[in-house]
Amino acid sequence: MSFPLLKVRDLSVEFTTYGQTQQVLRNVNIEVPARSQVALVGESGSGKTVTMKAIMGLLRQPPARITKGEIFYDGADLLTMPAKERLRLRGTAMSMVFQDPMSSLNPVFTIADQMGTILKYADRRLGRGRSKKERTARVHEVLSQVRMRDPERIARAYPIELSGGMRQRVLIAMALLSEPDLLIADEPGTALDVTTQAQILKLLKDLVEARGLALLMITHNLGVVRETSNYVYVMNKGVIVEHGETAQIFDAPKDDYTRSLIDAVPRLTGGRRFGQQGVPA
């Protein structure tokens, strides 16, 4: 059993606002082995986004404070390593696919401009040189990897000219630019229509499998968990309440919260009667 690619150990985070301190994460343990597909599922306020931000080093401190714990990437502790080294990993070895394709792209630059810039800085961090021409070629290559039919045209386009699904594809392409080993996806496709979301999830899954990437899928949607991952962590109020093989968790959840979450999901097979559940307390 090798050391996992990403390992979060006993992570505790608190937030201090207006003099009040709130513990947001409590002893969170997560492991993402290389080439695995892991999901972190929780409802709003559960702490899944804070976990993601802590991993990516995007937590603003203050108000946040990591009180305890380690985050290992490939054996090295991200929290204690020099800032420069961490910067080199971020966006290169580990990349993010962001949630909202409408607001994570800059409206005044073309797709090629934005992707070129990302690539330029990623190269610089890795001490790699690439000519502008080579960069453009790479941008086109990655756009075709996310199954854009006409990468040259997409590269020249401004975000407004693209549909939501295409923008989400561009965001995935951006994350793939520097050939990462770990992809962290924060609710991809939630802002999209069902049919488009299904395509995006399939694309992500295919890419991850074909290129041997590790995927950490952060979502509130249990259906998305089941479609994209084989191991799942369930989070509630800053605590991992249960984790295990996805199929096992869905078949026989041990934790009460997990069970209530699964029970709350309406089924496509129907048979659920809403209402008449007595008077709530």
């Binding site: 979301q197 309406p266 129907g270 809403f274 709530p280």
Partner: protein
Amino acid sequence: MSGPMLEIRNLCKAFPIRNAFGRRTGEVRAVDNVSFSIDKGKVYGLAGESGSGKSTIARIIMGLERPDSGDILIDGRSITDSASGHVHGRQVQMVFQNPGSSLNPRRTVGQSVAVPLDAHGYPRAGRQKRIEALLDMVQLPANFAQRYPHELSGGQKQRVAIARALAVEPKLLVLDEPTSALDVSVQAKVMDLLADLGREMDLTYLFISHDLSLMRNFASDVGVLYRGVIVESGTSDAVFEHPAHDYTRLLLASVPVISKEEEALRPCIPLIDGEIPTPEMLIALRQQAVKQTITNEVQTDD
């Protein structure tokens, strides 16, 4: 006594496409010859993705938009009949998608709930009692009347929106994605509330959503809307178990599910792989739509 609560006949609405100089260069047929009806006390689900025209239909029913042609009858009376405008507002109310933006942040909950009462000339006497009763109906404590929306959670806000919609004792409630902004566990509670209220108050619901799993469990009849056309309709069991139209099958195949039983229900069709459907593909689908239109009409049995 019986007869449909809502009847929509051959509804059409097109929006002009204008160029930069304001000249009309074409039109979008947002709602294209749509007909359906909902019996009293029933829940009709309208499923569709963005751009399918479901919100335009809701807006027309609410009187926020004028149809180009077609007719809407509520309890047998046409709403295009201008004389009944005021009565119409009393009979039909709407719950919007995002409770964060559909409640005025500068009004207390009590004030928000009272707005329709004022608009429809309810007497001022006993106003406070009425507000408390409405909050009680949606299972919120009476002291919430003094609170502002930012003090409430998403689920509580949506309950307030429901209380506001019920203030004038409507017969028909248009629910436009009422839970899409909520967590699943909160969604379940709000749906429970809506189901209970529907039974107690004999309400008729038009339930608009893109969440097919939720629709299957909540609506007795469904219509699948694609580019302004109802491509398939029937009882929800019939539509979900035996989808006849390609678009319905595509929609069903796209739903992320959490059990093997549900997986078995999803048609095995390849998702349009890696491509945004081109206009040609959409036109092809549209042509099929016209051929196959409405195979099984809404059942009117009890």
